[in-house]
């Protein structure tokens, strides 16, 4: 009886397939419901048939095609018996009576269902008992009730939706009815009512939901139809915990996507590189598309502070979205997926889709969490006692005169780091009726940084509304989001923008024998180059307020069921204000007698898109086509003002005009660019087996030279669903197998505005002639009318697979991408009025392989075990940095970001080598006198940069990987996620900066007292041997990180009427790092560890409730 199968709406193609598994007549009686509602159908419907020398089967098919009838029968019925019938406007009863006249087959019509049975079988649709009321609860595997599940009586339109507690009920229902339980992402379940009055159901998650619909460029597609390479992450797969920067949600979970956090500061942005870096000077950031709007904020844009100890702030546009509002993130990786974004697709595209409302009863979701974060480790510098001992040792005493013991024992790292408290509150309201649904949410998060004085407060609000009108022909979606962020930064410039110094550097370097404050409660102080880190951090104020707004409306009108037209109108707006002040009362600000700055940026973009969409099936051919036009304009304005010499600290940055007029620095800017595009896509599906996709986009950008304003970006891909082939059907363990092959060309235009135009700039340069100050106006850019896109050609071959009923699934991709016409800014030989020139020069290649796996290892009601893993390998190689006009053999680049190393480059860009290659002397050790020995490569007895440098490391990893597992035991679940990189080196500039023993006490610069790293005492370098950039400082930074552990308990709330769900969870982030690297953290962007704000370990406890 459990082999129930319905053949409702039978289709010719599947007929044979289903016939084999036809069911007993009796079981089919479940469909009787229709007989109550539509018994007039059989009387009113007249059919015309002509089937001479045919079979019963053909007649059945003909009737089904021409009417709404469905037939049901079991294997005892031979439908291949020969029959003949010619009927003109006859009722189905008349036709069947005639056809079955001389057979053993009987029939029964109930509504639109017709059952065949043999004479010796009982007549169907009998023995029906009515059950007055049936109730039940729908739960998921974890025992949580699921609201919004559709419960239908099979074969009918009658259905109900579970309430917030997962309850449903039916009245007056036949015991033979089958109930169908449907919920997105869950496996559909059917249950025969029988004699039960309570039916509780547990829905299982669909391991691999082939019919999952994912957002692609300018539309959506079923996952099974996709021919490009992409990874779709839904919210339940996100990293959990307190996540202010949403890209952290997917860190480590997507193969081929390398995300490194730029700083441990709250809300800091990350460097995201998809499938290896393609550009040298242009941006490698992917394009973000949020609910259909390509985001108009530059992720790399920054705000400068007044002094070089104040960090340059990076911008993170994704911060405007509250992590818990995100429904899914889809990462488009290969050209066939990204070519629809043309000139912005080369670095990959990240499509963020936010949560929408749902039909059904209004639901309130509330989530609250508190947590604490702390640094994972401290750096090993000399303790006060070690410092004392060393400074008083005989050998040093001779060299250092004048040093005095401060008499205290201070761990300066303890003074600048703290346990940061984090709290977050989330409220969402969702619901909807037949035509309109909505979701609105508000989030408040407040995170203290682990470094004193740094924090971030974030408030976001979002409203998504969807409305259907004109008989569902018009669909309007509105998305509005608004975010306000208020942050304070510690003056820790380390590692960003080549700056060094600030809180962390001064804490590491301060003499540990000195107390934070002396007996008179005054901060101890060793001069402006070596200030007290606590004082300098606390006296400075540095506040940044960011307002971001984004909104769009999508109007979709269906002309017919296969043709629709949609328009997307949207805008993005960002205002950032940064204010800093160094008070005259503090010793930092006393140098300039108070120093204030205020900078603001205002970025605006507007978008208009119109698309025509065609979607139709012709027999076994199905075609989906899209043609569109897009216009997007970006305008950036900003201003900076600064003054010093304040009479009083009373007004700080709020009245900059109170400063000395002679110290004013004022500048403003405005620039804009436009992007105009035409694009189209055709996908063709033959027989559900063979898929073909072609896209083309033509982009026009104001950013390029007058000879090359327009660029064309084509792509094509094929997909073959091998598992749909007959020869694989008998192979039981294969549930899905799809081969994808794609090729395409995409572009990169992220070089800034006006690069092709010859311009003059007043640039603020002045000179005094005759006592009067004149402004200089000179060339600041060469003319380059040929400047054009950087273009990336990519080939991708991929295999999607699912085995054992999709219990094991995943995908494997190999790719090769070659980037041509690199937008390279390179040094122009002297005499150059402008030192650099931007042109299309050079080639970079990336080749790689990616594997993603998902497994459902154990699945039972009481115990579940899922596992997932991904690994990717990318090989990057520079092919050329010359073209027919410009020849160069290599580019020396990178810096140590340490004071005293100006002009020392750390990396090389050279054909044959990957980007991020470290280049310098090979360190062999120290000689008897404590001098560094380097490998004298040309054995000329001299160590010279020109001859004796070599490749000493690479900052691009061989492998990046992530793996995790989720265990569920009854109402408990635990989710553990690890990620790591293998085969990578970074430059430990922090250690390099802390290695110089001569800096211990530098009387020349105002009695600076400087601490050093513990390793400097044991590295064998002589006292006055100055550390030189070499392989000694290039260190293995492979690591395995326990990124996330979440323990969750799901309460049984069935007894509480108003509550539908309650979860309590405990999450630990960044709990453990296994690595040989001895700095704060081996994970740094651009391979440079230079006094970076370390990433904290965070423990969060939270509660989630649904009403």
């Amino acid at each position: 009886m459990n082999q129930l199968l319905c053949i409702h709406g039978i289709k010719p193609l599947f007929y044979t397939f289903f016939r084999k598994r036809s069911l007993t007549i009796l079981t089919l009686t479940v469909l009787l419901l229709n007989c109550f509602t539509s018994n007039s159908y059989s009387q009113n419907t007249k059919l015309t048939l002509s089937e001479n020398n045919s079979t019963l089967l053909k007649v059945v098919k003909a009737i089904e095609n021409k009417s709404e009838y469905s037939f049901f029968y079991n294997e005892k019925i031979d439908v291949n018996i020969p029959v003949s019938i010619v009927a003109n406007q006859k009722s189905v009863k008349e036709i069947l009576d005639k056809v079955l006249l001389n057979t053993q087959i009987k029939y029964k019509i109930l509504g639109r269902q017709i059952a065949f049975y043999t004479k010796d079988e009982a007549e169907p649709f009998l023995n029906q008992k009515q059950i007055p009321k049936i109730t039940g609860i729908v739960n998921d595997e974890n025992g949580e009730s699921i609201p919004g599940v559709t419960v239908r009586v099979k074969g009918t339109k009658s259905g109900v939706i579970t309430d917030v507690k997962g309850n449903y009920s039916f009245t007056d229902i036949s015991e033979n009815s089958i109930l169908q339980f449907n919920f997105i992402g869950m496996k559909m379940q059917e249950i025969v009512i029988g004699n039960k009055t309570i039916i509780n159901v547990t829905l299982m998650q669909d391991a691999v939901n082939l019919e999952e619909v994912v957002a692609i460029g300018y539309g959506s597609a079923k996952k099974s139809d996709i021919t490009g390479s992409m990874t779709h992450l839904t919210s339940e797969k996100f990293n959990s915990g307190v996540i202010l920067a949403p890209e952290q949600l997917m860190q480590g979970k997507v193969s081929g996507v390398n995300i490194t956090l730029n700083s441990g500061e709250p809300g800091a942005n990350s460097k995201i590189v998809i499938r290896g870096g393609t550009s040298i000077n242009a941006s490698n950031d992917p394009l973000y598309v949020i609910d259909g709007v390509p985001v108009g904020f530059d992720a790399g844009s920054f705000l400068a502070g007044t002094s070089d100890r104040q960090a340059t702030l990076a911008n993170n546009p994704l911060n405007m979205i509250n992590s818990s509002d995100i429904e899914s993130i889809n990462v488009l990786k290969d050209a066939s997926a990204t070519a629809i974004y043309g000139s912005r697709g080369a670095n990959g595209v990240i499509i963020v889709t936010t949560k929408k409302g749902k039909d059904g009863k209004s639901t309130i979701e509330y989530e609250s969490s508190v947590g604490v974060s702390s640094i994972r480790k401290k750096l090993d510098v000399l303790s006060a006692d070690q410092y004392r001992t060393y400074m008083n040792s005989d050998s040093i005493k001779l060299k250092v005169t004048g040093w005095k013991d401060g008499g205290a024992n201070t761990d300066w790292q303890d003074q600048i780091f703290r346990n940061g408290i984090i709290q977050s509150h989330n409220l969402a309201l969702l619901g909807g009726s037949n035509n309109t649904n909505y979701r609105a949410s508000l989030n408040y998060t407040n995170q203290q940084g682990t470094m004193i004085a740094s924090d971030l407060e974030k408030i976001t609000g979002r409203i998504n509304i969807n409305h259907k009108a004109f008989n569902d022909k018009l669909n309007i979606s509105l998305f509005m989001t608004s975010a306000f962020l208020k942050g304070h930064s510690a003056p820790n410039a380390g590692g960003v923008d080549g700056k060094s110094g600030g809180t962390l550097r001064d804490a590491l370097r301060n003499d540990p024998t000195y107390p934070v404050k002396d007996a008179n409660d005054v901060y101890t102080w060793h001069g402006p180059e070596n200030p007290n880190p606590v004082e300098e951090t606390l006296v400075r104020s540095d506040e940044t307020n960011t307002y971001r707004n984004m909104g769009n409306a999508i109007l979709d009108y269906k002309f017919t069921n296969y043709l629709s037209f949609n328009t997307n109108i949207g805008f993005t707006k960002e205002n950032v204000d940064r204010m800093t002040y160094e008070p005259n009362s503090g010793r930092i600000g006393s140098v300039s007698h108070g120093n204030a700055s205020h900078q603001f940026r205002n970025d605006f973009s507007k978008l208009l898109e119109t698309n025509l969409v065609f979607n139709k099936k012709f027999g076994m051919h199905s075609i989906n086509a899209l043609a569109g036009y897009s216009f997007q304009e970006f305008v950036n304005t900003g201003a900076y003002m600064q003054a010093s010499n304040f009479i009083s600290d009373a007004t700080t940055y709020n009245a900059i005009g109170n400063g000395d007029k002679n110290t004013y620095i004022i500048y403003t800017w405005k620039n804009s660019h436009k992007l105009i595009s035409f694009y189209g896509r055709v996908t063709y599906d033959l027989n559900n087996k063979y898929l073909f996709t072609a896209t083309v986009r033509q982009d026009g950008s104001t950013r390029f030279g007058s000879n090359n304003k327009w660029g064309t970006f084509p792509s094509a891909a094929i997909g073959w669903r091998i598992s749909e082939e007959e020869f694989l059907k008998p192979v039981d363990f294969i549930s899905n197998l799809k081969l994808r092959v794609g090729y395409g060309v995409t572009g990169n235009q992220e070089i800034g505005d006006y690069i092709s135009l010859p311009t003059l700039s007043a640039g603020g340069n002045t000179y005094i002639i005759g006592g009067k100050q004149y402004t200089a106006v000179g060339s600041n850019q060469y003319y380059n009318p040929d400047l054009k896109w950087e273009s990336t050609a990519q080939t991708n071959i991929g295999l999607d697979f699912g085995f054992f009923n999709s219990r094991l699934s995943g995908s494997l991709d190999v790719y090769k991408k070659t980037t041509n016409d690199l937008l390279l800014s390179f040094a122009v030989p002297s005499p150059a009025v402008i030192p650099s020139f931007t042109d299309n020069v050079g080639q970079v290649e990336n080749r790689g392989i990616e594997l993603e796996l998902n497994g459902v290892i154990v699945k039972s009601k009481k115990f579940g075990w899922d596992a997932y893993a991904n690994i990717s390998h990318n090989e990057n190689k520079v092919l050329s940095i010359s073209n027919s006009k410009w020849k160069q053999e290599q580019i020396y680049t990178g810096s140590t970001a340490c004071p005293g190393f100006s002009g020392v480059t750390t990396q090389i860009i050279k054909p044959g080598l990957p980007l991020g290659t470290f280049y310098g002397y090979e360190y062999l050790g120290v000689d008897a006198k404590g001098k560094q020995i380097f490998n004298d490569l040309n054995t000329d007895g001299k160590i010279l940069p020109g001859d004796d440098r070599k490749v000493i490391g690479n900052s691009q990893p061989d492998f990046t990987y992530g793996f995790g597992s989720k265990f569920t035991v009854k109402r408990f679940s635990i989710d553990i996620f690890f990620r790591g990189v293998q085969g990578v080196t970074i430059l430990n500039s922090t250690q390099l900066d802390m290695a110089d023993k001569t800096k211990l006490y530098t009387p020349l610069t105002d009695n600076a007292r400087v601490n050093i790293g513990s390793s400097a005492l044991t590295d064998g370098l002589a006292y006055n041997e100055m550390a030189v950039y070499s392989s000694k400082w290039i260190q293995d930074a492979s690591y395995l990180r326990l990124e996330n552990v979440t323990l969750n308990y799901n309460f049984n709330v069935s007894a509480v009427k108003w509550l539908s769900r309650l979860n309590l969870y405990l999450t630990g982030q960044n709990l453990l790092v296994i690595t040989k690297y001895d700095g704060f953290d081996p994970e740094v962007s651009n391979g440079l560890d230079a006094m970076n704000y370390p990433r904290p370990t965070t423990i969060v406890c939270g509660i989630k409730a649904q009403f």
Binding site: Q642, S644, L757, L760, I769, S830, P831
Partner: protein, 516 residues
Amino acid sequence: MKKTYISIFVSLCFSIIFSACTNLDETLYDRISATNFYKTPEEVNAGLTDVYYRFNVAHNFLNQWQLQECSTDHAMCPWGDGNVFKQAQLHTWDATHGPMREVYTNIFSCIAACNSFIETLKLAKLSNGPAIEAEVKTIRAYSYMELIDLFGNVPIVTVAQIDPQNLPTNKPIVDQRKKVFEFIEAELKDAILNLVSLKDVADKQGYYPRVAKETAQSLLAKLYLNAEIWSGTARWQDCANACDDVINSDVYSLPTIYGGIWKAFAPDNEIAANNKEIILGLSKENIANWDPATGNWINTLSIHPELKGAWRNGKNLNITYAGWGGPSVLDEHFMIYDSLDFRRTLILKGKFYDQNNKLLIDIKPYSNTDIFAFNNPKEGLSCIKYQPDPTVLTNFARNDMILLRYADILLSKAEAIYRLSPGNKSTAEALITQVYARNFQIPRTFTINSLDDILQERSREFLWENTYRTDLVRFGKFITTRTKWKTTDDPAYRNIFPIPQSEMQTNPNLSQNPNY
């Protein structure tokens, strides 16, 4: 179906309307298009200012000073800075020396600004065009003089934008230096014909520090002075003649009172009354913001922080700010002064007290023989050749930086005629005495016993004025000069510096100087 067709038609119309938006011209908001500028006298002035601005940037004190002075017994700076000062002192520099690269590219950047401005100026067709062009060409010639002196074999370029197919070259390296010399000579001679004479400038104060006819004549004198080294042929008579042109023009003079040298280095040395001696200077301001190009920071860098508020012999030294205690005068140099020589007082050595006679600092020469093991902050002799400016806000002083003084013309002529006929030395002695006498309360006369006396006087007179290395090379003594740390001679190729490695990499058409 009819409805469908109408719909398609409507949407096509929409598309056509939108596709009208295909204008991709860029709108400039905050910058100026190069195709439509330098049309008015004010705009031309702005272009000329750009040339002077870059000329100023090319003389960022620490860079040229490091090459010209730290490589001699004049100076040292104990800062680590990637060992650049150490390399300069020990003559162990190579083509990657950072400040050397900056000097090279900054001077060439000034030349490029000259080239670019000359090209656009020609289009403007102004009445005073030839005079302004001559002014810019003089700046360019001076820049080439610095390059020929420091790097020897440099490419000659007079076009604004480099053609990548035809990169500048200094090949063949055998006679490139001579070619550059000839180019400078021709350019200066040509400029002298068109330049405004200071005699004709009514508002001299308003014209300062622009170059004039007499500036070009002075530069020509300096060119001839070094002709033997730079072109292979000595031109002593030409040098003497060019000096005479400057002297006879009567636009420059020396303040002859005791300590008169200090007038040229005063905070307000841009005032006409104080700058009679200045032939070429750079405007400087006491700005609060960080800008080494706009402010003079030579003193700030050099003086010890303890000297703030120091008095000497009942006189306030006017040091109102804490210096950095960096660049210092070597004791070897301090020893060559007569104890009564005013110029010796510009070097601070020994004990200094505040107004209340409290000891602030006892400055001693560097004691450590191990270079850069400087751990005593009170070592290294500070230099206050530029008079301390009491109006300094943070680091920068108003004193205009001096590139060429009338004293140099007098000493150059003396050297030229002495070399021509050492027997007839009285004229030379008289010239040197003009410069020498004012340094003594009771004026003294200068006597020449050998050519080296002239070199030594130049060493005293032009301490830290970025000409001493050139002088040593001319006297054949650069590679043999010894200091506390430099104890051996160098091979002759070190008389010029290497073409910076970064430049060799960007321009394959360049040859490196021999042996580098």
